[in-house]
Amino acid sequence: MTKFLSFISRAYVTLVFCIVFMPMAIILVISFSADSYLSFPPSGWSLKWYGTVLGNTSFMQGFRNSAIIAVIVAALSLALGLPAAYALVRLDFPGRALIRSLVIAPLVLPAMMLGLGILMVFTPAGLVATYPGLVLAHLVMTLPFSIRILQTTLSNLGTDVDEAAMTLGARPLQVFMQITLPRLTPGVIASSAIALILSFDEIVLSLFIVGPRLQTLPVALYRYVDERTDPMVAVLAVLMIALSLAIVLVVERSVGFAKAFDR
């Protein structure tokens, strides 16, 4: 009986795993196709589509833009998110509980609505299709994540250690720089990595405010799929997955996500 149950549960987990990873596996296979259209399984194998992607100026331009934006967004998410998280966890001020729950609002609102709102504000401000515009729009998505992660790390740290430093003669800024910040490192790395990945993959908000002058990689990919379907899109998808995976692995190896979330 227990043997049977363990077989069932293993089969179930395998099934769920398949559903989640099947699309990625298919895309990976197709990216090595020699065909000139999307088909599964491919009739022949080659690496030619990888070469085509690297030679495509629209994609390469998009990659450059997305990378620049993602790095700036990650840096700003941290710079704005850390003080916010600190205030929400450590300081007592009127309306703290309300702000705490409002911080995650952008995550529960439909992205379409956010995009539309952003477009209506950005158009008169001349921010459409500019770096500052895209960075600001992405921050709307990444800041709640950064604040939440840093909030969790910060409240798990407790106040004893900081108070100990204070009684030993450290002023508040010295406490923060020498004690709190070093202990926050896992949260800082994890939240930056997540902001980086979220911004790099972001499409819904970007669609509203990109233009011919400035396009991100996901938007370029989306537009391309609209017109043509060749294995180039599979190659791009594989490259984007690989990049995200690389970032996650680096974080996991250096500090560990688990550590960022509960210690």
Binding site: D160, V161, E163, A164, M166, T167, L168, G169, P182
Partner: protein, 364 residues
Amino acid sequence: MTLASSPAHITIDKLTFDYGGERPAVDSLSFDIAEGEFIGLLGPSGCGKSTTLRMFAGLLAPTSGQIIIGGENIVSRPPWERNLGLVFQSYALFPHMTVAQNVAFGLRLRKVGKDESAARVAEALRAVRLEGFGNRRPAELSGGQQQRVAIARAIVIEPEILLLDEPLSNLDARLRDEMRFEIRDIQSRTGITTLFVTHDQQEALTMCDRIAVMNGGRLEQIGTPVEVYDKAATPFVAGFIGRANSVSATLSLGAGAPRLEHEGQALPAPSAGELPMGAAEGAKMSAMVRPHAIQLSRPDASGLTARVIRSVFVGSVIEVELELAGGQKLVAELRPGSDEAQLAQPGAEVALSWRSTDMRIFAA
């Protein structure tokens, strides 16, 4: 040993902390601490002892009152200007620093030179018997060792007072016994005035020069371990420190010596001056007596009688549960093998007595 502190006389004057609850967390607390004294702040959780400690450290601002150290009221000084050593229950070591860096932290902030700092760190680590551990990380140490690092870190800055917040409660039983003597030893070698917060009466009795017993934000009694144990000032102290039986009694002044009666039976005569001031005829009293002070004998006409409910051998003593005529229960501790112990058969009627000096009388 050159790790000398400059012990200061401390006066706590009407110290109050009121966060707007039903009653103040600390209510007009006043007492003095002598130079180099080891004072225990003892009470159940929520009695205000930790709040008092946090006010000392500057982590909480008192609503009113003063803490005067060496003639100066320090309550308006921020924690980083107080020069106090605080040891947390959680140790609160800096996990990203080595043991030596932890201990040196306070010295670095005081801009103590490199050589002097190294010498003082080594000395502090020697004082807590952790020589050679300087390069370890806190995570590599046992609980007791971390505890000692926390103490070294606090005493190396030569604080005016060492504050210990339940420092033993995270240790296992054996280590706790060891650290008790260890802490007391470190304190007497350095001569640092120490305020030790605990909820454990055993710790307070064995470690402290004097114990301040707190309850509900108020100071119940302050005195030496012997005083608070033998001469409890309030029913709370009598019940909180050690085991105590409480017998309800009615005062009858009559002619001659005052008498206490329980259900018409006379309690051992109260000693002079033991009765609360202004107690009137017929006043309800509560007599407190320790289990080991109760003596059993064969029942006689006068005096208090009880029925034995059960007697349990617990090693060094026999614990006897007794029921008085009115249904009140008492516990007596007898020496195994004594004549008294022979009397303590379940169901037997026995007479109870104790020396009048072993009885504390409070208004009920």
